[in-house]
Every structure is written in structure tokens, then in C-alpha cells.
């Protein structure tokens, strides 16, 4: 009899172990959802569209933002144990909706110990040449220049007010050499809860303030001039930064 008791106890322990292992395996196999939120700022202030309130970074006057959109592409989560690549990862980030922030939800992300998040600002060369409609890429959309040139990566339209004069501002930045990859350490943000969330600051002012500071009166538009586009692209690499504590100060592309 004591022998039978012993056997039963061992069986129970085994069953419990199996149960826990099973639960753990099951949990580990369950994909998670990761939400990315992008919060628009102009310098220290949250973005308010259509208000001439932001000082010209390199000169006189105040500017307003009428339209601002940019492509955020090829989102990847990487770590020691695996890589997640979002399929058809082309998002047109914009802030003219009802929500103050722009959200992107990554579905069916395998549960791994991710350490970095990567994405591009703009459109990679292959997709930029293609007419295929993937993600938010749309050859008949507002961000398409035309099929010979590809996509605008970042679109800023607005006006600079200097005294009574209003100068139209048009910054359309594209061209494949200006595609920028940004990588950020996740640090203390383990992506293992059922639905993780990452918040980013999008600082529109960084377009005009960085390696070069732009006087909007002197450079009110950037379109097809490669040197001007490259200048803004060097700046926009630092436009999107993580908002979580301990985040790496400078994204890769900003060097």
C-alpha cells in the first residue's frame, strides 16, 4: 500500500509538471500583438494643424502645418532568439484623423525575447520602383509623384507667415538614396505581455533642425532638387524617437 501511495504521488507530480510545461509551451506558442503609437510634435509642442504658431527654425516668422504625412516601412523586431518581419510593411503615418496619435498594430507576432525594433522612413528602392499596391503604397495616391520618380517619402505642406505676407511651404522629400533605416533598443520594454505597446515621438521640427538648420523663407520648397532633398533626409532620420525611458538617445540613421 505505501508503495501504491508513492506511485500515485509521483504520477500526480508528473501530471502537474506536464500540465505546467504544457501551459508554458502553449503560452510561448501564442502570438502577441504589438501596438506602435506615433505622437506628433513640433519641437516641444504637440502638433496642431493649420495654426501659424511655430517659429521658423532658421529665420523670421511663424509657420503652420496644413498637411504632414510620411511613409514608415519594413518594421522588424529582432533579438537573440528570432526575428519578426511585418508583411507588406508600408504605413502612411498621418495625423489628420480623430485620434491624436497614429497607431500601427503588429498582429501575430511570435513571442520572443526581442531586443530591437527597426523600421525605415520612406520607401525602400524595390518598392519605390514598383507599381504594386502593398500596405499603404498606392500608385494612385497622394504620395505618388509619378511612376518615373516613385514616392514622396515625407510630405509637408503649409505656409510661413512673415508680417502680412504668407509664403507657401512645400516640402516633398523622396528619392531612393534618402530612405533611412532606424533601429532602437527596446531596453526595459519586454514584448511578452499579451498586447505590448511602444510609443514614439515624431518631431516635425527635426526636418528643419539637425545637421542643417533651415530658414523656411530662404528654402520654402524642396521637391526634385537632389541636394535639397538629401539635406532634409539627413534631418528626418532623427524625426522619430522612442518615448520610453532608457531608450537609446540617437537612432542609427542620425549619425
Amino acid at each position: 500500500m505505501p508503495r501504491a501511495k508513492y506511485v500515485i504521488a509521483v504520477l500526480f507530480a508528473l501530471a502537474a509538471l506536464l500540465g505546467i510545461t504544457g501551459w508554458w509551451l502553449y503560452r510561448a506558442a501564442q502570438p502577441i500583438e504589438v501596438a506602435l503609437y506615433f505622437h506628433p510634435f513640433v519641437g516641444p509642442e504637440p502638433l496642431l494643424l493649420n495654426e501659424s504658431r511655430y517659429p521658423n527654425p532658421g529665420g523670421e516668422g511663424r509657420f503652420k502645418v496644413r498637411d504632414f504625412q510620411f511613409f514608415l516601412s519594413n518594421i522588424r523586431l529582432t533579438g537573440g532568439t528570432g526575428v519578426y518581419t511585418e508583411p507588406d510593411s508600408y504605413h502612411l503615418v498621418r495625423f489628420d484623423g480623430a485620434e491624436p496619435a497614429f497607431g500601427i498594430v503588429l498582429h501575430d507576432v511570435p513571442r520572443r525575447n526581442y531586443q530591437r525594433i527597426e523600421f525605415g522612413i520612406g520607401v525602400d528602392a524595390a518598392a519605390n520602383k514598383s507599381l504594386a499596391q502593398r500596405g499603404d503604397l498606392d500608385p494612385n495616391g497622394r504620395m505618388a509623384w509619378n511612376w518615373e520618380v516613385g514616392y514622396k517619402f515625407v510630405l509637408f505642406e503649409g505656409a510661413l507667415l512673415r508680417g502680412n505676407a504668407s509664403v507657401p511651404l512645400v516640402y516633398h522629400v523622396g528619392f531612393e538614396e534618402n530612405y533611412r533605416l532606424i533601429a532602437t533598443e527596446l531596453h526595459r520594454e519586454p514584448l511578452d505581455s499579451r498586447s505590448a505597446r511602444l510609443d514614439f515621438r515624431v518631431d516635425i521640427l527635426r526636418l528643419f533642425q539637425g545637421s542643417t538648420t533651415v530658414d523656411m523663407a530662404a528654402l520654402p520648397s524642396v521637391k526634385f532638387d537632389r541636394a535639397d532633398a538629401a539635406l532634409l533626409a539627413r534631418n528626418f532620420a532623427a524625426m522619430v524617437t522612442p518615448m520610453w525611458p532608457d531608450a537609446a538617445g540617437q537612432p542609427d540613421g542620425a549619425r
Binding site: R66, N140, F224
Partner: protein, 378 residues
């Protein structure tokens, strides 16, 4: 072994009998209510991009044919004299040639009749101010509008139910005669109105080359001018997409203030729908497909000719608070910041753009039998 084999045989036989029974049952149901036939062989050019048909209104042969009849049937109006086709005439690419349309009341409407082509692409907000979110929603509005068709939906359903052939068509397509079914049928017919065989389409498919003048016009159409790199352009593409030549589909990107009126005279436009002051004076950017056939132009039909339209964009833009920076800034001479808004196109360039616009005419579309009046006798 044999036992296993026998067992398999039995299972197979049972499955076969079950399948037969199921087939018989379906057949019996079919006798009671015929099932609509999904539309096959339906396609559109790759460059138009994705399109969506609502899940609750799939395209079927019966729905499209019913929609076509309804579209041409004057019974849809209170006085029995106005049909959808009164203001949307096929040979005019489904416009009516009037400044603004006239319906049963005889009172001119506020807006110019809009061409009906390639409606599954571009802004999915219908009417010039975008007040209908679907073609289904759009379809019932003119029917009931007191100046357009002034019809009571209950009366219309009763009238159509009394017609045996309509009753049968409705039953096959939607199971019943109802206002919702009328809307769905009209929307289905409209979704099939695809214009994709203009000379521009043939050029895009690599079948033809454009004449040098048309090609110059195409290049100008597709470019926002940039003096800094000596690039001349007419900035049409800032609002009219490169392949569809209509407004952009994302959110309200397909609505624009095209400088027709100054601040004082700006109409509400899209603001009437969204309540957003930044949308004041914005109207839906129409497709330019068949534009040579759809005079007069603009939401209020104020321009009689395409030449007048080009003159407007070249040198007639009126400034206002919601005018796009792109319009103000676009200038082939590069003096935008100072004073008058003008593209400064040359006469040759304007003629070239007109030549390109004429390549958007699709004779097949305006003569296609499936889009024509089913009541007409040959």
C-alpha cells in the same frame, strides 16, 4: 484486412449517399429560390489598384442587369419622366451636358452632373461634397430629392412589386423588392461602369505610343513644376492620380479647393460633411476619364470648355484660406512668393495638355452595349 476494407467501403457508401441527399436538397431549394450567378470575367487594369465590393452586395449577373434596368427606368421618379439616365447619359460618359442638372421640379440643381466611371477607385465618398459613404447610400438620395426624382421609396417598392418581371428579377438577385435592394442593384450596375480602353490606357498597356504633343502634355500633367531643376509642369497630378486621373482614395485626400472662389465666396463643400473649417471650399476631385465629353466643367459647371479650365488653372486661381500651398507655389517662372498665382504655361504647353486630356476619351465605354438603355429598341 477484408474487414477493414469492408468497413472503408461502408463509410464511402454512406458518404456518397449523404452527398447525393445534400445535392438533392440543394436542388430542391433552388427550385424555390433561384440563386444569383456571381459575375465572372470581371476585371480592371492592374494600374487601377485594388478595389472592394461590399461583402453584403456581391456582384452578380442578376444584380447588375436589374441595376441597369432601374438606372434607365423613369418609374423611379414621381412624374414617371426622369430616370438616372436623364442626367447621366452614356454617350456623354454619363453626364448631361448641362451647367447644372434639372430634375422633375424643373429647378436647376446646385451641382453639375458627375461622370460615372471607375467608381470603385478613388475617393469612396460620393457627390461633390462627399456626403454619401457608399454607392448604395448614394443611389437612394437623388430618387427622393424633391428637385431630382421626388419619388417616395414606399411607393416605388409597391410599383415595382406590381410588375411581374421586376418581381422575378428582384427575387433572384436579392430575394425581395425593397428600397435596400434597389440601392444595391443600382450600385452593382454602377460598379461595372469601367472605362479602361482610352488611348491613354492603350499607351499604358504598351500597345501604342502617344503623339509627341500628347506625350508632352502627359509629362506636364504628371509633374509639379520645380524651377530649381528646370522642370516644367502643370501640377495636375497634385490632385488627379496618374492612372485613374481622379482624386486620391485615402481619407479626404481626394478633395481639394481648386481656387474657383475667393474667401468671401467660398462654398461650404466638404466642410458641410466633416464640420472641419479646413475643409471649407473643398470639393471632390473628379476622374478626368472622358473629360473631353463631359463639358461643362467644375462642380457648378461654370466653364464651358477645357480651354477655359486650363486658363483657370494657369492664371485664374483665386486665393483663400483653404487653398492648397501646392496651388499657390506652383509656378514655372519661380516667382510664386510674390503676388499673383500663375503656372505661367506657354500656349504650346496648354495645347499639349489639352491633347493629352483628349487621349482619355474611351469610345468603347460610351458605346458599350452592357451599359446602354435596356428598354431601347434597336
Amino acid at each position: 484486412m477484408t474487414r477493414v476494407f469492408r468497413l472503408r467501403l461502408a463509410v464511402a457508401a454512406a458518404a456518397l449517399i449523404a452527398a447525393l441527399l445534400a445535392a438533392l436538397a440543394t436542388g430542391a431549394c433552388n427550385k424555390q429560390r433561384r440563386v444569383a450567378t456571381p459575375l465572372t470575367g470581371f476585371s480592371a487594369p492592374f494600374v487601377f489598384g485594388h478595389f472592394q465590393v461590399p461583402a453584403d452586395n456581391p456582384l452578380t449577373e442578376e444584380a447588375v442587369e436589374l441595376g441597369r434596368r432601374l438606372f434607365y427606368d423613369p418609374r423611379l421618379s414621381a412624374n414617371g419622366r426622369v430616370s438616372c439616365s436623364t442626367c447621366h447619359i452614356q454617350r456623354l460618359a454619363f453626364t448631361d451636358g448641362r451647367v447644372t442638372s434639372v430634375g422633375v421640379s424643373g429647378q436647376p440643381l446646385a451641382f453639375n452632373s458627375m461622370s460615372l466611371a471607375n467608381l470603385m477607385w478613388g475617393p469612396q465618398h460620393f457627390f461633390w461634397n462627399g456626403r454619401a459613404a457608399t454607392l448604395e447610400e448614394q443611389a437612394l438620395i437623388p430618387i427622393q430629392h424633391p428637385d431630382e426624382m421626388a419619388q417616395d421609396l414606399g411607393r416605388l417598392v409597391a410599383e415595382l412589386s406590381a410588375d411581374a418581371s421586376y418581381r422575378e428579377m428582384f427575387e433572384t438577385a436579392y430575394g425581395e423588392v425593397s428600397a435596400a435592394a434597389i440601392a444595391r442593384a443600382l450600385a452593382s450596375f454602377e460598379r461595372t461602369l469601367i472605362s479602361s480602353n482610352s488611348r491613354y490606357d492603350q499607351f499604358l498597356r504598351g500597345e501604342i505610343t502617344l503623339h509627341p504633343r500628347e506625350e508632352l502634355g502627359r509629362k506636364l500633367f504628371m509633374v509639379h513644376p520645380d524651377v530649381k531643376v528646370s522642370l516644367r509642369g502643370a501640377n495636375c497630378i497634385d490632385c488627379h492620380s496618374q492612372f485613374l486621373t481622379g482624386g486620391f482614395s485615402a481619407r479626404y485626400d481626394g478633395f481639394s479647393n481648386n481656387g474657383l472662389d475667393d474667401e468671401e465666396h467660398l462654398q461650404p463643400g466638404l466642410q458641410a460633411v466633416t464640420g472641419n473649417p479646413a475643409h471649407r471650399g473643398l470639393f471632390k476631385v473628379p476622374s478626368l476619364r472622358n473629360i473631353a465629353l463631359t463639358a461643362p466643367y467644375m462642380h457648378d459647371g461654370r466653364f464651358k470648355t477645357l480651354e477655359a479650365v486650363l486658363d483657370h488653372y494657369d492664371s485664374g486661381i483665386r486665393n483663400s484660406s483653404t487653398l492648397s500651398s501646392l496651388m499657390v507655389e506652383a509656378d514655372n517662372r519661380g516667382a510664386a512668393a510674390a503676388g499673383r498665382i500663375s503656372l505661367h504655361l506657354t500656349a504650346t504647353e496648354k495645347a499639349a495638355i489639352l491633347a493629352f486630356l483628349r487621349t482619355l476619351t474611351d469610345q468603347d465605354f460610351v458605346s458599350a452595349e452592357p451599359f446602354s438603355d435596356p428598354f431601347a429598341r434597336p
